[in-house]
């Protein structure tokens, strides 16, 4: 991801612009030069979010803020906490309700107005959906928010979720799931609403696969790196994270936080957490949607996989690995950090991916004891519904629907290995989770790590305990759900950069398609003879 810094001649008069290292990282605040979202390249190509509306589902937006007012989309905004069309944050003397305003500034703060900083998509429109600020959340408020004006709002950004205490397992309820399904199928005139989710702030004690919003196939779950490429200490890792952007970190430097708008016309340098990462991603997706308004919710996930960069991200715990089709991923960062320049260039010429199919790859329903030492190892061999109308040949998302009970749920470790040899951590140890009753009941653990792979063959599930005290447990169900396309998604794409992941993937698809064609013709010749 290196580029010459002085090649970038972006000049903004906004006072905080030079402190927005995640936009253009010149090494400020002890950061690493070049480690940023590469928005400069996208801006220079003319993409700034024109015509795209992003909704911030949170505690409201200070839409009177001079850096937000001009980009505020009042028509698309609503306040579900107070049931009126004015999602202005409720006053508190501890600044508690600044969250949504800070997120909004990251996406759509106006440029060159000499106020605060600049949004990633500084010509986009931002809508406020105030829905966090009531005594309790309800399914109907979440569903109403996620399904608010889906023909006007393109992207919904959420920087909240179930409690990140390392022992909660929770996710969208019935109405909200229905609303999300409706959004990805009918939103944006059928191209699908884009849901961007902050993966979680539970740190190494938590696992974002226990958060049903982050681990949904319909949301793009975003993790955060800090300005020198290391993980932030609050980062949760899980196999459903697709990519990363940036947020504050362990740095003592006060300017290593995220600079953005703040309540009542203020600015801040201290926006933080994975909360700050999601709106940055929403902004990058807005640039891509401006480059190609025809992108579907799945196109955007494919573009994320193909254009995210490892850059200089560094995870001390999980190694960077390549999956069965050569795509490099990391358990914490997903496919890498978003690269706005690459994404808009690829988006411009992108051909929508083929239809998506769903196949139950197999299921084991007999109860199996989990040993206190060692692992229970199960295998499922599948043809991925080959020969049937819902054959899945090129994977997108894979779900392992698991029902398991244990004397200490937090000590469970689940790993799944694909036929092409990619090992995904579905659940890592959560030392604070002492549940011994509820367990996981048909919980859909999702992995993005086998993206593009051929699912035919034997899948291996390993389940064991990772604690210090012997525990007992029973696995009652493992159902393998395969989601993907029948035809090669990249074979018709235009390749401009022969070093790119797209070039590599397209070449691989051509080779595999050729092999399979030869195999089929040999078979038919043999059968004739």
């Amino acid at each position: 991801g290196y580029r010459e810094i002085n090649d970038i001649d972006i000049n903004m008069n906004d006072p905080l612009f030079t402190k927005q290292w995640y936009l253009i990282n010149t090494g400020q605040a002890d950061g690493t030069p070049g480690l940023d979202l590469n928005v400069a390249e996208a801006w220079e190509l003319g993409y700034t979010g024109n015509g795209v509306t992003i909704a911030i589902m949170d505690d409201g937006i200070d839409y009177l803020h001079p850096d937000l007012a001009s980009n505020y989309n009042a028509e698309a905004s609503y306040d579900f906490s107070s049931n009126d069309p004015f999602p202005y944050p409720r006053y508190t003397d501890d600044w508690f309700n600044s969250h949504g305003t800070r997120c909004a500034g990251e996406v759509s703060a106006a440029a060159n107005n000499n106020i605060c900083g600049v949004g990633v998509a500084y010509n986009s429109k931002v809508a406020g959906i105030r829905m966090l600020d009531q005594p309790f959340m309800t399914d109907i408020i979440e569903a109403s928010s996620i399904s608010h004006m889906p023909q006007v709002i393109d992207i919904y950004s959420a920087s909240w979720g179930p409690t990140d205490d390392g022992k909660t397992v929770d996710g969208p309820r019935e109405l909200t799931l229905q609303a999300m399904a409706d959004g990805v199928n009918k939103g944006r005139g059928g191209k699908g609403s884009i849901y961007v989710w902050a993966s979680g702030d539970g740190g190494s004690y938590d696992d974002c696969n226990c958060d049903g919003y982050a681990s949904s196939m319909w949301t793009i779950s975003i993790n955060s790196a800090i300005n020198d490429g290391r993980t932030a200490l609050y980062d949760e890792s899980c196999s459903s994270t697709l990519a990363s952007t940036f947020s504050n970190g362990r740095k003592s430097n006060p300017e290593a936080g995220v600079a953005t708008t703040d309540l009542y016309g203020n600015c801040t340098l201290r926006h933080s957490g994975t909360s700050a990462a999601a709106p940055e991603a929403a902004g990058v997706f807005a640039l891509a949607l401006e480059a190609n308004p025809g992108l579907t919710w799945r196109d955007l996930q494919h573009l994320t996989v193909l254009t995210s960069k490892r850059n200089q991200l560094h995870d001390e715990v999980h190694k960077w690995r390549r999956n069965g089709v050569g795509l490099e991923f990391n358990h914490l960062f997903g496919y890498g950090v978003l690269d706005a320049g690459s994404m808009v260039k690829m988006a411009k010429e992108w051909k929508t991916v083929p239809e998506r199919f769903h196949c139950i790859g197999g299921s084991i329903q007999e109860p199996r004891k989990i040993p206190s030492n060692g692992k229970l190892i199960l295998t499922l061999t599948t043809d991925a519904c080959e020969g049937k109308e819902n054959f899945v040949r090129y994977l997108e998302h894979v779900q392992a629907v698991i029902t398991v009970n244990a004397t200490r749920r937090g000590d469970l470790n689940l790993n799944m290995t694909s036929p092409m040899g990619t090992k995904s951590i579905l659940l890592s140890r959560r030392p604070r989770d002492d549940d011994s009753k509820v367990g996981f009941d048909k919980w859909p653990f999702m992995t993005t790590h086998t993206w593009g792979e051929d699912p035919r063959g034997t899948w291996v599930l390993e389940i064991g305990f990772a604690g210090s005290v012997p525990e007992r447990g029973v696995l009652k169900e493992w159902t393998l759900m395969l989601h993907g396309t029948q035809s090669a998604p990249y074979i018709d794409q235009i390749v401009r950069d022969y070093q790119s992941k797209l070039a590599m993937s397209k070449k691989k698809e051509l080779e595999e398609e050729l092999d399979e064609a030869v195999e089929r013709s040999l078979k038919s010749l043999l059968s004739k003879n």
Binding site: D59, N83, F136, T138, S144, P162, L175, Q178, G273
Partner: protein, 85 residues
């Protein structure tokens, strides 16, 4: 522990759109209603009295509303936690 019940209700009507829903909401003391865009006859009735959570169902609104001929189902919404990240 027992679920926390809120003053938000999911109301399913046999027929009649938003107008009917608004009329019923007013009749039964709710401060408003809103149709759920992703479903046919589902409506959000809110504000049945001072916004507070309670452990007991709001018997008055719920039972009376439930027996109205136009109403198919009434579900008082459970409250749960969501945290800013």
């Amino acid at each position: 522990q027992r679920p926390v019940l809120t003053d938000h209700f999911l109301v399913e009507l046999h027929e009649g759109g938003e107008e009917m829903a608004n009329q019923l909401a007013e009749e039964y003391g709710f401060s408003g209603s809103r149709k759920l865009p992703f479903a046919d006859n589902l409506h959000h009735f809110f504000g049945s009295g001072p916004p507070k959570s309670r452990r007991r169902r709001s018997v008055k609104n719920r039972e009376h509303l439930e027996i109205h001929p136009k109403v198919k189902n009434v579900i008082q919404q459970e409250g749960f936690d969501r945290k800013k990240r």
